[in-house]
């Protein structure tokens, strides 16, 4: 169901986008150079690439969520669904990830204003908070296992670890990009080097979008876990 909604949403976005691209054009009647959006959007290819990637990531989590719901809903064999007691540390982890996202936004705002020195500590801080979040998630696995209400072979525990691990892996991928960008930020860029500064700005913008989106996905995953 969730997946169907996701696909419906993506399809609606695609159709809307096609409509605004004037799909009603009759290309055989027009000749000459028609102004395209190309001149205005050329520099945003990495952003478009990121959004396409985020659509793929969303599809992945939507499908995991669908599988989870179907399993909860009784597609099982002999054993019925036994819910997991979500460890309380997940609430703290959520707060940490919100802070990481916030720090990323502050870094982006400052770097957008060309204040590279002011932005880089927030940028690095976002990375550190994300590491804390990941450590917290590993702690949550241990707590869930230690609470003893379910064995490691139980579907609820396996889904819990799987969903959090896949989300964590995406954050690790983000941290790799964040690390590379941080190196460039801390190495410093000459104020006259417009191209290099522009590339750093774009990297920070992409990281911010990615962090916000993964926060949203985590909130969705957490809500899903709490609801069952």
């Amino acid at each position: 169901m969730l997946t169907a909604l996701l696909i419906a949403m993506l399809t609606a976005i695609t159709v809307w986008w096609l409509l605004i691209q004037r799909l009603k054009d009759k290309p055989w009647t027009k000749q000459g150079v028609v102004p395209t959006s190309q001149e205005t959007v050329t520099s945003s290819a990495p952003k478009v690439g990121l959004w396409v990637f985020l659509a793929v990531v969303s599809s992945l989590f939507g499908l995991f969520a669908s599988a989870y719901m179907m399993r909860v809903g009784g597609h099982g064999g002999l054993a019925s669904w036994q819910p997991l007691d979500e460890p309380n540390v997940l609430w703290i982890n959520t707060l940490v990830l919100v802070l990481a996202s916030g720090a990323m936004q502050v870094a982006r705002n400052r770097i957008d204003r060309d204040d590279l020195d002011g932005g880089r500590s927030y940028f690095l801080g976002a990375g550190v908070l994300t590491l804390v979040f990941l450590a917290g998630q590993i702690l949550a696995w241990q707590q869930a296992r230690a609470s003893g209400n379910l064995g490691p072979g139980s579907p609820a525990y396996a889904f819990f670890v799987l969903l959090t691990a896949i989300h964590g892996l995406h954050l690790v991928g983000g941290l790799w990009v964040l690390g590379r960008t941080s190196v460039r930020l801390f190495r410093g860029v000459d104020a006259s080097n417009v191209v290099a500064r522009s590339r750093i700005r774009t990297s920070v913008q992409l990281c911010t979008t990615y962090w916000h989106w993964l926060l949203l996905i985590w909130l969705g995953v957490f809500a899903l876990l709490l609801s069952t």
Binding site: T3, A4, I7, L10, T11, T14, V15, L18, Q21, R22, L23, K24, D25, K26, P27, W28, K30, Q31, G32, V33, V34, T36, Q38, E39, V41, T42, S43, S44, A45, P46, V48, G49, V52, F53, A55, V56, S59, L60, L63, F64, S66, A67, M70, R71, H75, G76, G77, L78, A79, S80, W81, G153, S154, P155, A158, F159, L162, I166
Partner: protein
């Protein structure tokens, strides 16, 4: 990197300096396309040999002692998976997608060329991992290409130990490769089209590849989810898909998993996969027919909308593959209805292809023979899909040879006809040589008639009730002797068709060495790839200035014009060319 694809430039940038950079670690979309194509065709030949081995066993049982039931199922599984994923998907999107998108859109390259290069090497890794399963203990998996649990990972099934792991791992790697390529294809179409190339001026080949890529990016995650969960079931004993099972009177330790959940995930990927293969074929065949009938494509806008509509609908039909798994009758009704609705945009496309040919100046050259052949095979395969889309008809026909006949016609032979047509069509541009006409025609007629000789009789033996996936039939009352004779004939036809593919390979190598030099635009085509300053196009495609597009891609036989085609970059009368300004 993004700026390289869309900028005029009067000096070389990022051009390869060494042989390795040019032909191995190449970031040039044309080289990557050829790399993708070569590996896909190579691994496709492996799958072809596997299918021959299967047919030899079915046609002449008790003859070949080296084909055991165990490896028969391995042949079936590997044949299916290789053909669908590693040949068709890779060749259409990795091969033709890579070659055509930048050239047809008027770009210098993909927007992320480094990632594009990685995409190919990761794809090659997935192929190596897949083929490695032939050499591990127990051999490759024999659970059928759908890999249904619990059978696939249960003792007794071929390759249940290492083969299935390598298969799942290979699929996961392939999906990573596809995602890297797919991000490039979509972003390049959206961001790197040259001046004047509006979406509605794009050739239908690009439209088909573009929408198929979007389908792939949204559908392949379902296969990834299924693969990850099954790997965990197999390795660390989770029970995502594994219900409680008794083996020799004892529970085997798994409990609570759902095999049906796997089927839903698999087919949520599996059905869009049909269109991931079909939509590029639809687009390419539209361009072939229009070019070689010297006539504009009939109903261009309708064709674009049909591609988009088919793509959207393909996500809500998946459970028609699961009628026999059992489902709520209302679901069956829903999925049967959506399945039949897809027939509408598909039929529109077929009518438009036929109407494009209608009163055209049809050139019966090799690419067009394959394109017209495609219309036949696709209509036949499509019509039998209407039978199988209905629950009540599907139930008795499911798991018979009727299904094999249907899906091979519609998503085996048909896309392959387009692939061959496309290879012959773009061969002069890719290699600078013309393909040999006689060998090409021989290849077409052997393939076209041969595949009919294979798959048409399968519908009849399917209706007789002959089940698929059987190693040997023995003597049963409901299978008459004549059905066995038909099976022998099918096997002989399969050998003829396989031989025809050797003719194709000979043609490729012969034409590469001895073929006539190709002119820049041998077919008189309008699209941009035929207007490059060099043939084959060099790195950067366009020289210092990018092309400018003034018209759609189908200005053929325009009344009052001296030539029967007007290239997309030719300015209207009285206009200056902006490309040189």
């Amino acid at each position: 990197m993004a700026y390289v694809a869309i900028a005029d430039r009067d000096h070389p940038m990022h051009d390869p300096q060494t042989w390795i950079e040019k032909y191995v670690w190449s970031q040039d979309h044309k080289v990557i396309a050829i790399q993708y194509g070569s590996v896909a065709i190579g691994v496709g030949l492996v799958a072809l040999v596997l299918s021959l081995l299967m047919r030899m066993q079915i046609g002449f049982p008790d003859t070949f002692s080296f084909i055991t039931p165990y490896n028969y199922y391995q042949f079936v599984t590997m044949h299916g998976m290789i053909m669908v994923i590693y040949l068709l998907t890779a060749l259409f999107l990795g091969g033709f997608g890579n070659y055509l998108i930048p050239l047809m859109c008027g770009a210098r390259d993909m927007v992320f060329p480094y990632m594009n290069m990685l995409s190919f090497w990761v794809y090659l890794l997935s192929v190596i991992v897949l083929l490695a399963s032939f050499f591990v203990s127990g051999g490759p998996t024999g659970g059928g290409w759908t890999l249904y649990p619990p059978q696939t990972v249960t003792e007794g099934t071929p390759g249940h130990d290492y083969g299935i792991l390598l298969m799942l791992l290979s699929l996961a790697i392939f999906i990573v490769a596809f995602t890297m390529g797919g991000l490039n294809y979509v972003t390049t179409v959206l961001q790197a089209r040259c001046r004047g190339m509006t979406l509605m001026r794009m050739p239908l080949s690009v439209w088909g590849i573009f929408v198929a890529t979007i389908l792939g990016l949204l559908a392949f995650p379902a296969l990834l989810v299924a693969a990850i969960m099954m790997i965990l079931d197999r390795t660390i004993g989770t029970s995502f898909f594994m219900p409680a099972l008794m083996s020799l009177g004892e529970l085997n330790g798994t409990d609570g998993g759902s095999p049906i959940l796997f089927q839903h995930l698999f087919w949520f990927f599996g059905h869009p996969e049909v269109y991931i293969v079909a939509l590029p074929a639809f687009g390419i065949v539209s361009d072939l027919l229009s070019t070689h009938a010297r006539k504009n494509i009939f109903g261009y806008r309708m064709m674009v909308w049909a591609i988009v509509a088919i793509g959207a609908l393909s996500f809500i039909v998946w459970a028609h593959h699961m009628y026999v798994s059992g489902m709520n009758p209302y679901f069956g009704f829903f999925f049967a209805t959506t399945t039949l609705i897809i027939a509408i945009p598909t039929a529109i496309k077929v009518y438009n292809w036929v109407l494009t040919l209608w009163r055209g100046d049809i050139q019966l050259n090799i690419p067009n023979l394959f394109a017209i052949g495609f219309i036949f095979t696709f209509v036949h395969g499509g019509l039998t899909g209407l039978f199988l889309g209905n629950v009540t008809v599907d139930l008795p026909l499911s798991d018979t040879y009727f299904v094999i006949g249907h899906f091979h016609m519609v998503m085996g032979v048909s896309p392959v006809m387009v692939l061959f047509g496309a290879i012959y069509h773009w061969f002069p541009k890719i290699t600078g040589k013309m393909p040999n006409e006689f060998l090409g025609r021989l290849h077409f007629w052997m393939t076209f008639l041969g595949t009919y000789a294979i798959y048409l009789p399968m519908h009849y033996i399917g209706i007789l009730g002959m089940p698929r996936r059987y190693y040997a039939y023995g003597s049963t009352d409901f299978i008459p002797e004549s059905a066995h004779a038909v099976n022998e004939a099918i096997t002989i036809a399969a050998m003829v068709v396989a031989t025809a593919q050797l003719v194709f390979l000979i043609n490729v190598f012969y034409s590469l060495r001895k073929g006539k030099q190709a002119p820049d635009n041998p077919w008189g085509a309008t699209t941009l790839e035929w207007q490059t300053p060099q043939t084959p196009p060099v790195h950067g495609n366009w020289g210092p200035k990018l092309p400018v597009v003034y018209r759609w891609a189908y200005d053929y036989s325009v009344p009052g014009e001296p030539k029967d085609f007007i290239p997309q970059n030719e300015p209207p009368k009285g206009h200056h060319s902006l490309a040189n300004s």
